[in-house]
Amino acid sequence: MALSERAILKSEVRWAIVVGSVVALILGAILFAAIAMHMNPPSNQEYADPKTLHLSPEFTEANLGTTVQPNGQIVARMIATQFEFVPNCILLPADRDVTLRITSPDVIHGLLITGTNVNTMVVPGYISQVHTRLTKTGDLLMPCHEYCGLGHSQMLATVRVVPPDQFRPDAQGRAACGNRG
């Protein structure tokens, strides 16, 4: 009969090849984005002791927010803590490479910036770092997206993206949302 064991096995093997090719195609596209376009997960593996965070030079309150480093790199530093981001608004230029560095002194948090590819977990013990280039201007939301306690729903910050010519850091290289927020 036409549905012999051999025929059945053959149809299954053929199907497996089709399915395997589809999976290979998807893997190829992912690999291309990763290698050619630098679109990777944020995997920083850099330690920061949550118990002594207030003593660390990088994450003291005065050093938080957006800074243009002497080498021209734009870095925004934040602390995610129960139940707020410090600072709760950061100013960033569009179409420029920017780096976000965030850590937590207490529990696990997470963040995303709406309408962008920026997304990371914030795990106490580590500095989460995301490199990106924002393509749209305006105010975006940056909520905590990992349950961090009963006040979790109020943990929400703003990311103000301005055109590059309106991004004017002060003499120390610092830029803040200012009184416009």
Binding site: M1, A2, L3, S11, W15, V18, V19, V22, L25, I26, A29, A33, M37, H38, M39, N40, P41, P42, G115, T116, N117, V118, N119, V130, H131, T132, R133, L134, T135
Partner: protein
């Protein structure tokens, strides 16, 4: 006659021989239909994935 929710007792065919005969007659075309239906589903899946990749993921820009 009550139709069982799952044909645990009642067979759809009078005998095994009849059932096998029916399978034989079905076999002239099977599994052409299944190939086409599954292929359409997988193709649609791939198209959907590529749409999100090119229309949303890539335009949102570099990240990592």
């Amino acid at each position: 006659m009550v139709e069982p929710s799952y044909p645990a007792d009642a067979h759809d065919f009078a005998s095994d021989a009849e059932e096998l005969e029916r399978i034989d007659s079905a076999a002239t075309e099977a599994p052409k239909g299944a190939v086409v239906v599954s292929a359409i589903a997988v193709a649609a899946l791939l198209v959907g994935w590529l749409l999100l990749y090119f229309w949303i993921f890539i335009p949102r820009g570099t990240v990592g």
